[in-house]
Symmetry: C2
Subunit: 407 residues, 2 copies
């Protein structure tokens, strides 16, 4: 049906590279972190892509994630895994946001979150490289995406999540075929268990940025934005930042597209948004540091960005600074208010992490960091349906004589 | 951004027509049911559309619902309401379904269900016609879609649902700005309250098929399928049937596309799927009746198809019979088994109503009504995330010495 999933197309990966030291690693082999303990980045033969894949050719394909094939690492078409990775829509929120604010609604992806972008790519590569068993720490949505894609291609999965992970996440992970364990700790405690098992050879470690392909999937957010904005980019991007894969990925996508001649040198101001209950990147940004210390006693209603320590911290900080943006923290009350406003005023139900970006946008407006006339994209990273809502219903008796005019 | 939402395009509505008697009604006026108490159908000047809107022109537009503008009733571009009505993907389920089975995943639409298609159109028309207050009976998803779109354009809404409507539905309806009442009865009891208030002039009645534009939105499912199948159609369609708007709408779309020269005269076998706990259409189909009696004591795990009496019964039965398809009922155990299989084997979480179509497909295969070689589309009408799932997690102590090899 969809030629993106069935047509053989040329691929262009040349090698992988340590994001800290630049050391080269071979393509098409199993990799975790670099020898320096940092994320690996996939590199492509961009001049050859430029010669064979003009942007107009890509734009004419069905608008899903796999149309970017020449910029992705999957070599064999038969290794593609898919649950329908559509291009996510940009939804205006004029009343709760402003006249030039668009929400990129990532909740429309398979398993209801943007984690699908990274995991569909990582699982396809795991399939290509013959991995049989994967483990992952998760705050919920990444585990759901991993379970769905791995199940689809027969890879076994074990998922560890903090014991206060939202119920619906835990249940959907199991429903989609993974084994799930709740751990009395945070995501890095879960990560320690995954790391120990990986060291013992029990499974492959799929932690954020510890395998190199999730970032390639996440970078499609940047590619899509360029296509949706007519090969320009918005003037500001507000991104809910836990591990930061998406922000790093978009920044990488912008550089690749410039090298391809698809976009110019202009960049959006990148705003990395955290919760004031867990804001290691904000603290490092404000202190002028290159790396971020672990945040102790992390707590926030936005569980997806409750990440005390990010292995790609320096990449996030670098992108934010180069772009002229900022790392910003918002409190839980502002987050919840933003979620309520978007639904009540614009009919758009967003997740708390998405609410954090709206709260931060308002604060940035107040501080003069952005202007109402500038185009701004807020990332709603998951469907609002996964999160608790108040019950505001009343009960009526169908047999009663009701004065309907007072309802 | 999206020209479908901002470009003025010609529109072609000529009139409305009673679906039972053919009596004509004027376009661009407020209408409920016809004088015969039956749904009104919107009619277009198809020869003129044929002259100005070739299918290749439509296909070149961004692939959302509003690209079908020439075949839709909204005249003024400024009346368009939108939360990002994307084209929903077709997801293969080779292990739980078969080699030629595709699930049309309608859970990706705004508010997580196919109800968005009908309601986005009905609300845009309500806006165009100056309606200020709307009431609706709902089993959940329609109310959520109504609330979101009406809130977005400042129309007041009151929603009545059975008191056992899934919690998440009730809550999202309220979160998106509607007033919600739970009624100790079924959807037709709720409908009676809505009808009474409408008769008193308190609000406009948005019950299924009681206003004429939801069907125009729902017919885009048929238009999309044609485009996705390269202007052919699948050989069989399995549709979860409550009020049946979508089935009626697709059948109408097929006729319109044939008149436009976009498709030929071949049609899919249409399978109207109900639950054995509420199967009025199946009973009428098997008895050779043209209309369906109310089903007493309706109960099923698939709340969306718990509709004891459908005002468009004869239209559903006509389409199913003309197509050489069948109305079929499946039991709750088969529904739940199908939901479990799709998630566990193919990584696709579907809703119970979607599960009913998979259970029915399996039964149709067994009965020889369809062949494994035939292309079949199953409609998953809502995201599986809205429905309860079992908790299969186990708990681990992060401080304990765990033998990870036994996990």
């Amino acid at each position: 049906m969809n030629p993106n999933l069935t047509t053989d197309r040329p691929t262009f990966v040349t090698h992988l590279e340590c994001s800290l030291t630049g050391e080269r690693y071979e393509a098409d082999q199993l990799h975790g972190l670099s020898r320096a303990g940092r994320p690996l980045l996939v590199r492509y033969d961009l001049p050859s892509i430029r010669a064979v894949a003009p942007r107009a050719m890509i734009a004419a394909r069905p608008t899903d994630l796999w149309r970017w094939r020449e910029l992705l690492p999957v070599r064999r078409t038969s290794d593609i895994v898919s649950l329908g990775e559509i291009e996510t829509p940009l939804v205006p929120i004029p009343k709760s946001g402003g006249p030039n604010v668009l929400v990129k609604d990532e909740g429309r992806l398979p398993t209801g979150s943007f984690k699908a972008r990274g995991l569909v790519m990582a699982v396809a590569m795991a399939k290509a490289l013959g991995i049989k068993k994967i483990a992952m720490p998760t705050n919920g949505n990444a585990g759901a995406a991993l379970a769905a894609y791995a199940t689809r291609c027969g890879i076994e999965t074990i998922v560890f999540c903090p014991d206060d992970t939202p119920e619906i996440n835990v249940r959907e992970i199991a429903a989609q075929g993974a084994r799930v364990y709740r751990v009395n700790g945070l995501i890095d405690d879960c990560g320690a268990i995954v790391g120990k098992g990986a060291a013992e050879g029990l499974w492959f470690d799929f932690s954020t940025l510890k395998e190199p392909y999730r970032i390639e999937g996440k970078k499609t957010m940047g590619l899509e934005l360029a296509a949706q904005f007519g090969w320009k980019l918005p003037q500001a991007i507000f991104y809910p930042t836990g591990g930061g894969t998406g922000l790093i990925g978009m920044w990488k996508a912008f550089a690749e597209m410039e090298a391809l001649g698809w976009i110019g040198s202009e960049r959006p101001k990148m705003f990395a948004i955290q919760s004031s209950g867990c804001a290691p990147i904000v603290r490092a940004f404000e202190a002028g540091e290159e790396h971020a210390e672990r945040w102790e006693d992390a707590h926030t209603v936005a569980a997806g960005i409750r990440v005390p320590k990010a292995v790609g911290d320096f990449l996030i900080l670098r992108a934010v600074r180069e772009s002229g943006g900022r790392a910003m923290a918002v409190g839980d009350p502002a987050i919840l208010q933003a979620v309520e406003d978007a639904a009540l005023k614009d009919g758009l139900l967003i997740c708390p992490e998405g609410g954090a970006t709206l709260a931060a946008y308002r604060e940035a407006l107040r501080l003069g960091l952005v202007d109402e006339d500038e185009s701004a994209v807020l990332f709603n990273c998951a469907t609002g349906l996964k999160y608790p809502m108040a019950d505001a219903s009343k009960t009526l008796d169908r047999f009663a004589e009701i004065d309907l005019a007072v309802l």
